[in-house]
Amino acid sequence: MTDAIVVGAGHNGLVAAAYLARAGLDVVVLESSPEIGGATRSEEAFPGFRFSVFSYLVSLLRPEVIHELDLVRHGLFLVPTASTLNPLPGGDCLFREADPQRTYRHIARHSRRDAEALFEYKLEMRRMGHLMYRLQRAAPDELAAAIGDRVVESAEHLDVEVSAEVADIARYFLDLPPARLRSFVQMLTMSSADFLGQWFESDVLKSALSSSSIIGSMLSPRTPGSAYVLLHHYMGEVDGVYREWGFQKGGTGAVAATIARAARSHGAEIRTQSPVARVLVSDGRAAGVVLANGDELRAAVVMSSAAPQISLGRLLDPGDIPGGAGLVERAARWQSGGCAGKVNLAISGLPRFECMPEPGPHLSGGITIAPGLDYVDRAYDDAKYGGFSERPFIDMIIPSVLDPDMAPPGKHVLSCFVQYAPYELAAGSWDEGQREAFGDAVVRTLAEYAPGIEDQILHRQVLVPPDIEAIAGIPGGNIFHGELRLSQLFLLRPDPAAAAFRTPLPGYYLCGSSTQFGGGISGGPARLAALRVLDDLRTADTAGGGGGETR
């Protein structure tokens, strides 16, 4: 019998396994697909051309995960992508570079006031991001311990009295400077366009900054709730370690490989092609898993990195756990519809953007097609009625500029993250024809800003939410395993009865993107979940009985 089983070998599953193994536990990771990485994977889609299939940039990876798992020694190699170019119609652009003075000048061309405000804005966002991060990190111990039980209790009955602990937490927030508290609470509910409108006047800059507020969410910058997603992406900027987005040499698949190496170095075993059918329950505790082929694998602890529809749905028999029926029902209405597609292009040479036709530093950074709030909003409108965006929002990088090994000499790979592409189309389904039409819309849009690119394309890979679902095993294909919104955050992520990584089934834990801390290649949820498991095992040990079967 092993000590612990981790379901899923995405980056979070691997991080959890690495932490448990590092603490001396005997760990097995079970992955259904033939490859590890989940949504964090690279692939040689066309001979000589390597792509990060889904996730394409790294910014949220927690510094403590990097240090504690010694990921640099195991191969982590992040190249900063220091600039962002927003091409505009008519050959204009907004270019934000690493050099603040140059960025100031670029923005001042559009609005001097905005150029001034940007620095203050970044400081404030960093403060808020830090607050958010603190809240996320502190949550399991400070928040959940205090009110977790009450949340569960009150899910059905709302007229509960406010406990002293809850009041204490409220007081912690109220002790913040009022303006900051207000901004923070506001950010949980308002639209990013409104939020950015409090800081800036130029549509161009608001649109550029709002990109982070829609990534991975079926939201437009004008949809209430998008401001939180913006804040979520600023958590990657805290602690001053990796302030910028980074590109992993070899693509994001190499991040997964790195973490897997770290896990194996501590003795963890990773089995691919081992789909888990359900969690085994014995004496009211998780006792291991049953594989799809019927094999049983016993363990004292089971952790799942899968989305709630799987972790709290498919893998559990509601009869096995207290409140199981409610848990399964709530998991079924978890919002995790995908909204994004990925179009990976193999190209014969560097694209020539009308605003900056010659090769230059702008090609080694992010390039975003989001020329105005109306533009992005219209792209969203197409999708909300069940179509893909005719003129989509595109966030792209050219990984081969940063890492020449990604493409044959002189040739390049262009990775386009595209919104919006709904999981289900109102008219028809995502067949070959629709996929191609979507790919065409992307190329047509690119050609508006980089004329001639259509003739440079050698190969094209079009991936839509059902592909993300099929390949990465995320129901609905949402890259965050579930939308980042107030009803799916903090202690409600993924469920009030399964907050803080524990579930109502003793010995069964959650560690994926759908737990508090949320999505992105952060490793944050898995680290906290693993620490939670180790803590619980220690407590059980010192208490004598209980955890006796662990060893």
Binding site: L158, S163, V166, R182, Q186, L188, S487, L491
Partner: protein
């Protein structure tokens, strides 16, 4: 110190505040710029011989306890509860749906449309009422510290704050007309399409204040909404308050950080130790106090209050009751929601986002004469069509937009009530710009500030503070819809202002 209180604005909130303060023995003067009282809940002769409600006319959310305390019945207020809550007429492609206050009656009607929806209805009403009851205490008094905890432990309220009405209704119901009807109850004057996150909030808000035992009942005042204003004024006067109409306040006087009174447009100065302003935050601070006395950061906050959700009101005098397809007369007494499906409302909101008139405007109709024939001359009926989700800054301007809007509204009404065009004798139209010019509704927003979660609860100004900071002048109190708990004919902001002022 001058013990007098000046109340700026004779809308229902100002009148409630004045009446409550006078009743507690305070020396009160209320100042209203217009000739009639009631503000956005006033009744005007917009069409000769007709009593037309200019703005809101549904008293379903008005506090019963305030009505009793102020003895509004004795002062002439008569309430009529509509037999129907909301109705969606049939169209060529959709069926009619009627929501009644009685659960059983609604279920019976729904049975003919969708068995599944009929079965789901009682549970929906029950759960909504339960959640609304949990929220109600937070809306009916100044917010307290512990309330934040109360929200933290109410996952369903958090869900309402962050999910979209469309998705939460679709978890239970399938019939498009039913879905549209519920959206039609929740979304008027919000400017938000049902697919926007946070739209669960207005429905919950409505139910919390509409009396939690039933789903948002429609209650009207005999003689029109202005009758509420008249009763409130009579009650206030009986307690000694001085009520002045035609008295436009042009300045709230501040001396060394303290309120000293107000100055009227004609130059008259009225001394007062306290001022309750029921104007919008923008009008109160930028126009009446003046940016010069405010900190830049406070001004910046003011400039970012969102007033979206403008509406137009078209009043039609008809030769008879129009025939809305599939609706019997009792069904015509409540809200009449003209949308076949939630996306009709969504598309109207889309157009407004880009500053355009929707191809098919979203109309909430009412036939007040179906309940109270005294509002129109014998043989005539009044139809009030509120066109929601309009842009305030219409591309091309409202001068050019007016005939377009009228034409599109006429087409839309004809689609829902064939032959209605032939019944129309006279009409009157109030545009978003009229609501701003006549009633001081900044940017035509009927709620004095968009009613979405990011401008609700702690994020809306309170009677005495905003964003945790005291108001910039002592002796100043806010009592309009722009402060907690917000818009709608509730009387609550006025009540909370009076209670806060009396408490000191």
């Amino acid at each position: 110190m001058n013990g007098r209180v000046a109340v700026v604005g004779g809308g229902h909130n100002g009148l409630v505040a004045a009446a409550l303060l006078a009743r507690s023995g305070r020396d009160v003067v209320l100042l209203e710029a217009r000739p009639e009282l009631g503000g956005l809940a006033s009744t005007r002769e917009l069409i000769p011989g007709h009593r037309v409600d200019a703005g809101s006319h549904d008293l379903g959310m008005f506090r019963r306890s305030v009505m009793e305390e102020l003895e509004l019945g004795a002062h002439g207020l008569e309430l009529i509860e509509a037999p129907a809550v909301a109705a969606v007429p049939a169209t060529a492609g959709s069926s009619a749906v009627v929501l009644w206050p009685e659960v059983g009656r609604t279920v019976e009607g729904l049975g003919g449309v969708s068995r599944r929806d009929a079965a789901a209805w009682p549970g929906f009403v029950f759960e909504l009422a339960e959640r609304a009851a949990a929220l109600e205490p937070l809306l009916s008094r100044p917010l307290e510290l512990g309330d934040m905890g109360r929200l933290l432990i109410a996952p369903e309220v958090l869900r309402a704050l962050s999910s979209s009405l469309d998705e939460s209704l679709r978890e239970r119901f399938e019939n498009p007309s039913l879905l549209a009807g519920l959206c039609g109850v929740a979304l008027p004057a919000t400017g938000l399409g049902p697919r926007a996150n946070g739209t669960g909030w207005p429905l919950l808000f409505h139910c919390a204040l509409g009396g939690s035992d039933r789903l948002a009942p429609v209650v009207r005042a005999q003689g029109g909404a202005g009758a509420l204003a008249s009763a409130l004024a009579a009650s206030a006067a009986a307690s000694g308050a001085e009520i002045r109409t035609g008295a436009a306040v042009s300045r709230i006087l501040v001396d060394s950080g303290r309120v000293a009174g107000v100055r009227l447009a004609d130059g008259e100065r009225i001394e007062a130790g306290a001022v309750v302003s029921t104007a919008t935050p923008s009008v109160t601070f930028l126009d009446l106090i003046g940016a010069a006395l405010l900190e830049p950061r406070f001004v910046r906050r003011l400039l970012h209050v969102k007033y979206r959700g403008a509406a137009a009101r078209l009043a039609l005098s008809l030769d008879g009751l129009p025939a809305f397809r599939g609706l019997e007369r009792p069904a015509l007494t409540g809200r009449i929601v003209l949308a076949e499906q939630p996306d009709d409302i969504e598309r109207a909101a889309d157009a407004a986002k880009y500053g355009r008139l929707p191809d098919r405007p979203w109309i909430e109709a009412a036939l007040p004469t179906a309940l109270d024939p005294s509002l129109a001359p014998a043989g005539r009926h009044l139809l009030l069509a509120t066109v929601h989700h309009l842009p305030f800054d219409l591309e091309g301007g409202w001068e050019a937009g007016r005939p377009q809007l009228l034409a599109r509204v006429a087409d839309e009404l004809e689609r829902w009530a064939p032959g209605i065009g032939g019944l129309v004798r006279e009409h009157a139209l109030l545009l978003p710009t009229d609501f701003e010019a006549d009633y001081g509704a900044t940017a035509g927003g009927l709620h004095h500030g968009e009613m979405n979660p990011s401008q609700s609860l702690w994020l809306r100004p309170s009677a005495s503070a905003w964003a945790g900071e005291p108001l910039p002048a002592s002796g100043l109190w806010l009592g309009g819809a722009g402060c907690h708990p917000g818009g709608g004919l509730t009387g609550l902001p006025g009540t909370i202002a009076a209670v806060s002022l009396l408490r000191g």
